[in-house]
Symmetry: C2
Subunit: 505 residues, 2 copies
């Protein structure tokens, strides 16, 4: 048995090497690669996917995993759980023909570049055939995996085990009602922010963000910061976690909150216990849990008064708040020549329907997700033609947020997800918000002094509590079990709604 | 036959995919990867090397190449030459056990990181065991390939086909004498430069260099600029050429001339005819020819008056020449508040023994190469112990340039080459200078108006002549044949010596 376990980890090691290479090829395509290289890159990616699929469905490996899975009750708990995860992945991959995997990888790399191109040229027709291809590939995929289930259920299960369209419908239905009611009450307090009235030098913004992320706890000896079109975190190996930021959004606030968001993902990945590194438990357990960590750090911590009481002054060591044009009335944020932390925090927490999801406030953010979820269902079930997407998008925006995109790049071409085949992925963002609400409630009750500590830039109780309760476990504990273990309750949306209510009403 | 050719290119495609991935893993290790990730990265690199070795010595491929090689006289000239190159590579790789290839790749990645660490800590003992390992691996390698030849001859043949230690001894002996005589005459004209008296903002330097490299002809749609400790060019695919610069050298001049140098390599790789992309002729033909392109652009063009008459004013749009401390006498380079191009060019052409090879002037540069060549021979032939390297280095510096390094990072730890197993590589730099001298002579005789065109920033005759005569051919024409074809003569050192004489005496 011991020998089999060793052989199993030997196989896994090869898979992990290829996964790391795949992550690097993708990371580089986003962060550095010149546009003209996309054909060759798509061949490199396709090759790696093909190899990965070959070795992870290789006969020796399959029988090893199946044998060990049968005997899992006799194994050490880490080995047993790793094999459980491998078995689950295996049962899926074995159903996919290698040619399909290869085709999908190649199509995705090309589609991603087409999306970049379409977005920069504001031309949907460049992206349309690629999105059609992605939808077709997803349908094929779902058919290979389990043709008896709704397509959406097959897709979302890859990101959030056990989740279904039906469950999401129920959660989103309730949430939509609550958010509408909340939004109607908040509206009266609406203000216009001032962040976009200042200009900043990108290199200085980078320096400040580097300082801030390190200060909160990112380990730059085991991670790096990349610059990309659309922020994301990626793991090239357990000691190479990349938090990738965008510094070109319309204002400083999105650069900063975006960076704090990716930092939340990065801290999770960097603090998984070493003992899981060689197992199939070496990453965050699900996208919902992952997103809870990024959203919690971004919103509950990173938009708080205490946080900016500490970082506000430090920020002015790096950045000069220079108005783009002379303001007609003095700007609240820099009254008396100094940054006014309270006004800055107000601006970070303005609730107002906006076009871009990643720049949205905590309340309307979830409307953006509901919109995407509803459109995904329509595309997968042929309720709309892909050519109609821009139109459908705009009418949904009108319905949910009562605003209309002025162009494609702020409308249906804003997100990278569909271009890389991440369909069924968006709902995990809102699940993450719900988990964040529930964890935040628990964390605060167990760390009543955190707000005071934060004023001094002391992140230790945050870091320790989340490392202890969430991060270290990697994929060892299943998402539902983890939420229950930490908070004593099943996941429910009440905590998140309550958090929004008490903050904004 | 046609089918065999197709199969051959199919095999080659897989090799090229792995070579591109290998180049990316190495590029990223230099440019982005955090130090803590080196163990995992070395496993990724080792895996790719192993796979590459497996497929490039795979039975089907071997018999395909051997068969086609036998029939090469009946083939199209491109196919025939590609097969010739593949056969040459194959005859070497087939002699290497896979375990050796894997071990060497892993050792090299670790050794490289140890070198970075040793250099930054000024501690030779960190690097010593790794260099010992590299020397041991090189001896083993030479023994596998051809135990009847001197070790050095086996090693240099990988970089410069047909070159031997004996030939280099002869060239370097003559060159050393000529350079000594030249240096004794130039000395009286020696001045101290002013570049190091100014400070510049790195982001602005980057912007200027980006502008300048694009202006000369680098295609950023098919290439990118990276930031690294030690400048180099690398090719991730024919449409992804990376020129990697360092902006942290002691002064602006090394950042700029270093960038022009890598640009020379990059232009060569970017302008290889498309028809070679899928063949084994898709890269520059030898290191000597490659280096001729980088040294020619850096020195003959990039340090010339005409070049700076054009770029000098443009540079001041990007950079402010601000003295580090108030100068005791007005600085020549910024007299009257404006950049004085003539003084700037003088400073770019000061001949003066210095510690760092990549910052050396055109004349003393070759002494740095001779030093490294002599030490490599001593290390490979056990004439010195690796522990004695710092001492031997310093005494050679005294002998050849009459100066002594003050620390390891400006002495024997300055170069990355030995850390990555590139031993037998340095002489190609000086060969490159000789080729550059001969090509420059020919180019000028055929383009008598170039200096005038350059004043206006017109690079077209340079770009067209080198594309036509050198770049487009990739590896189709052998290095010696190429020099002869273009200049009508065998390679000789006289042109280079004459170039130095007429410029500096």
């Amino acid at each position: 048995m011991k020998q089999k376990i060793e052989q199993y980890y030997q196989h896994l090691k090869e898979q992990k090497i290829l996964e790391g290479i795949d992550a690097l090829l993708n990371w580089d395509q986003e962060a550095v690669m010149p546009a003209g290289a996309v054909e060759f890159r798509s061949e490199q990616l396709s090759y790696v996917s093909k190899k990965h699929h070959e070795i992870s469905t290789d006969k020796a490996y399959v029988s090893l995993v199946n044998d060990l899975y049968e005997s899992r009750s006799t194994l050490d708990s880490v080995d047993a759980r790793s094999i459980e995860v491998s078995k689950k992945n295996l049962d899926k991959s074995i159903k996919l023909p290698t040619e399909f995997v290869e085709e999908a990888a190649k199509a995705t790399s090309l589609s991603h570049q087409a999306w970049l191109d379409a977005k920069s040229k504001e031309d949907f027709s460049i992206f349309q055939p690629h999105l059609e291809k992605q939808i077709e590939l997803k349908k094929k995929y779902a058919n290979y995996i389990d043709s008896s289930k709704p397509i959406y259920d097959v897709l979302i299960d890859d990101f959030e085990e056990g989740m279904t369209g039906e469950k999401i419908d129920a959660i989103f239905h309730n949430l939509k009602t609550e958010l509408k009611s909340l939004l109607s009450k908040i509206k009266s307090k609406e203000k216009t922010g001032e962040f976009s009235k200042f200009k900043f030098e990108t290199p200085k913004v980078k320096e400040f963000i580097q300082f801030m992320t390190a200060r909160i706890g990112f380990d730059f000896n085991r991670g790096a910061a990349g610059e990309v079109h659309h922020p994301f975190e990626s793991s090239l190996s357990p000691n190479d976690i990349r938090i990738n930021m965008s510094y070109y959004h319309k204002d400083l606030s999105s650069s900063i909150t975006g960076a704090i968001h990716e930092l939340g993902h990065g801290l999770y990945e960097q603090n998984i216990d070493k003992k899981y590194h060689h197992t199939d438990l070496s990453a965050g357990v699900s996208l919902g849990i992952h997103e809870s960590q990024s959203r919690l750090l971004e919103n509950m911590v990173g938009r708080s008064k205490a946080f900016w009481n500490y970082f506000g002054n430090l920020m002015s060591d790096y950045l000069t708040f220079e108005p783009i044009s002379p303001p007609s009335t003095p700007l609240r944020m820099t009254l008396g020549g100094e940054i006014q932390v309270e006004n800055l925090v107000n601006d970070l927490n303005i609730v107002k329907p906006s076009l871009i999801r990643i720049e949205a406030d905590e309340v309307t953010y979830n409307m953006h997700i509901i919109l995407r979820y509803e459109i995904e269902q329509m595309m997968l079930n042929d309720q709309i033609k892909i050519s109609e997407l821009p139109e459908v998008w705009n009418s949904k925006m009108k319905e949910l947020l009562n605003i209309t995109p002025d162009k494609l790049s702020t409308g249906c071409l804003q997100d990278t997800h569909w271009s890389i085949g991440a369909i069924g992925y968006f709902p995990t963002y809102t699940l993450g918000n719900l988990v964040a609400g529930q964890l935040w409630n628990k964390f605060q009750s167990e760390n009543p002094n955190f707000q005071t500590e934060l004023l001094e830039g002391d992140f230790s109780s945050y870091f320790n509590w989340f490392k202890e309760n969430i991060w270290q476990h990697g994929s060892f504990i299943k998402p539902n079990d983890l939420v229950k273990k930490v908070t004593g309750e099943e996941l429910k949306s009440e905590y998140f709604i309550e958090y929004l209510r008490s903050k904004y009403l």
